[in-house]
C-alpha cells in the first residue's frame, strides 16, 4: 500500500517537473529553457586581461578552483594532527589508506615512490570532475553577441529571451555578429558582404549567447593532454631511476640481439621493442582522450537533457555524472600506477605481486 503511494508521488512529481513546468508553465510566462553553447575548446573570457597579455578561459578558472579545493582540503586535514582524528583528518586518513593499499597490492615494494603522484592526480581529477556538478558552474556567465556558427537567442535586458520550449536558437552568421556588435558599440562597423542568397533583411542583430564563468576543468583538451604527458613522462622517469640506463632495453632490445646466436627467434623481441615505442606514445593520446571524452560527453548530457526533459530526469544524469567522475579519476590513477610499476619491474621479469589477503 505504501509502495503504491510512493509510486503515485513519483509519477505526479515527474508530471509536474518534466512536463508541466518546462513546457507549459514557464513558457507561458515567457521563460523557457535555452540550449547552452557547446564548444570543444575552452571559451575565452577576456583576452589581454588587465593589460598583461594573458588570455583567461573559463576552463582555467575551473582548474584554479579545483586546485584551491585540493589545497584547502590538504591543509585543513593535516594541521593540528590528532591521535584520535577529527572528521576531516579521518576522511583524509581513509582516502590515503585505501589508495596506499591499492598501490601496495599492485606495485609491491615500489609503492612508496609512485604513491604521491598517483594519489595527487586522483584527488585533483576527482575534485575537477565533481566541481562540474555544483549549480552555477557551466550556467552563469557573460552574455555577448553570438559569433559565427553558434546558435543565439534574442536578449531581453540581462537575460536571454526564450519563449518557446525546445527552441534551439538561430544560427548566427558573420553578418549577424557584425550587426550586433555595431548596435552594442554604437559605432559604424564596415558592412560585411552578406553571403549570396541572404538579403539585407535577413541579418539579425539581436543574437546573444552566454559564456559561463566556470567550466569543468577536464573538458579542456589542454588539461587532459597535459596530465597525460606528465603521467607518461613520470613512468619513464621512474623506470630510469629504478633500472638505470638498462630501462631502454625495453625499446631497443639489445640483449635479444646478443643472444641471437643461441636463440634466433629472439630477434622477434627486438622488433617488438620498436612497437613498444609506439605503444608508449599512444598511451598519451589514450589517457588524454579517455578523460576528456568522458567528462565532455557528461557535460553535453547535462546541457541537453534538462533542455529536453525538464527538471526531474536530469537527476539521474547527475547521479551518473557523480559516478563517472569517480571512475575516471580512479582509472587515471590506477593506469598510472600499473604502467609505472611495470616500468620499474623491468622487461620480461614477472615478479610475484604481494598476495592480496
Amino acid at each position: 500500500m505504501k509502495g503504491c503511494l510512493i509510486f503515485l508521488a513519483i509519477v505526479i512529481a515527474g508530471a509536474i517537473f518534466c512536463v508541466w513546468i518546462p513546457f507549459i508553465l514557464l513558457p507561458d510566462n515567457g521563460i523557457a529553457m535555452a540550449l547552452p553553447v557547446i564548444s570543444v575548446p575552452g571559451e575565452k573570457l577576456c583576452e589581454d586581461c588587465f593589460g598583461t597579455g594573458i588570455t583567461i578561459t573559463n576552463t582555467i578558472i575551473g582548474t584554479l578552483l579545483a586546485d584551491m579545493v585540493v589545497l584547502l582540503f590538504a591543509f585543513g586535514a593535516t594541521r593540528h594532527l590528532k591521535e584520535v582524528p577529527g572528521r576531516l583528518q579521518g576522511l583524509f586518513e581513509v582516502l590515503t589508506d585505501a589508495l596506499y593499499g591499492l598501490a601496495k597490492s599492485t606495485a609491491g615494494p615500489n609503492a612508496r615512490k609512485i604513491f604521491p603522484l598517483m594519489a595527487t592526480i586522483f584527488i585533483f581529477v576527482l575534485a575537477a570532475n565533481w566541481l562540474e556538478l555544483i549549480p552555477g558552474v557551466d550556467s552563469v556567465g557573460i552574455m555577448h553577441c553570438a559569433e559565427e556558427g553558434f546558435s543565439g537567442y534574442p536578449a531581453d535586458g540581462a537575460f536571454l529571451k526564450v519563449t518557446e520550449p525546445l527552441d534551439a536558437g538561430e544560427k548566427a552568421t558573420e553578418a549577424d555578429y557584425e550587426a550586433c556588435h555595431a548596435k552594442e558599440e554604437g559605432v559604424e562597423h564596415e558592412e560585411v558582404e552578406p553571403e549570396a542568397g541572404v538579403g539585407e533583411a535577413d541579418v539579425n542583430d539581436n543574437l546573444h549567447v552566454v559564456t559561463p564563468f566556470v567550466r569543468a576543468a577536464a573538458t579542456d583538451l589542454n588539461l587532459t593532454l597535459g596530465l597525460a604527458l606528465i603521467a607518461v613522462l613520470a613512468v619513464q622517469f621512474f623506470g630510469i631511476r629504478t633500472l638505470g640506463i638498462s630501462y631502454f632495453t625495453k625499446f631497443i632490445n639489445t640483449p635479444a640481439l646478443e643472444n641471437a646466436g643461441k636463440r634466433p627467434m629472439g630477434l622477434m623481441d627486438f622488433v617488438v621493442g620498436f612497437l613498444e615505442i609506439i605503444s608508449e606514445l599512444s598511451r598519451i593520446l589514450s589517457f588524454g582522450f579517455r578523460l576528456f571524452g568522458n567528462i565532455f560527453a557528461g557535460q553535453v548530457l547535462l546541457f541537453v537533457i534538462p533542455f529536453l526533459a525538464g527538471a526531474l530526469l536530469p537527476m539521474f544524469v547527475y547521479g551518473f555524472e557523480l559516478f563517472v567522475g569517480v571512475i575516471q579519476a580512479f582509472v587515471f590513477g590506477m593506469l598510472l600506477l600499473v604502467f609505472a610499476s611495470m616500468a620499474m619491474q623491468g622487461h620480461g621479469h614477472d615478479d610475484s605481486h604481494e598476495t592480496h589477503e
Binding site: 564548444s39 582522450f289 582509472v331 592480496h356
Partner: protein, 81 residues
C-alpha cells in the same frame, strides 16, 4: 523545395555524426565479455571478488575509452565542424 548548399552540408554533417556512432557497437560487446569473465570468476571464487571487481572496472574503462573516442568524433562533427 529548393535546398541551398549550406543546408545540404548541414544535413551531411548530421548524417556523418550519426554514422560515427556505429563505432560503439564494439566496446558494447567488449564490455559485456569483460563482465562475463568477471562474473564467472566471482562464481568460482567468491572470496576474491574485491580484486576481481577492481580489475573489472579497470578493463571496462579501457573498453569504454574506445566508445568515447567515437562519441568525441561525433560531437566534434556536430558542434565544431
Amino acid at each position: 523545395m529548393q535546398v541551398t548548399g549550406d543546408q545540404f552540408i548541414d544535413a551531411l554533417k548530421t548524417i556523418g555524426a550519426g554514422l560515427a556512432m556505429i563505432g560503439v557497437i564494439g566496446p558494447g560487446i567488449g564490455i559485456g565479455l569483460i563482465v562475463q569473465g568477471a562474473l564467472t570468476a566471482i562464481g568460482r571464487n567468491p572470496d576474491a571478488s574485491g580484486q576481481i571487481i577492481t580489475n573489472m572496472i579497470l578493463g571496462i574503462a579501457f573498453a569504454e575509452a574506445v566508445a568515447i573516442y567515437a562519441l568525441v568524433v561525433s560531437l566534434i562533427i556536430l558542434f565544431v565542424l
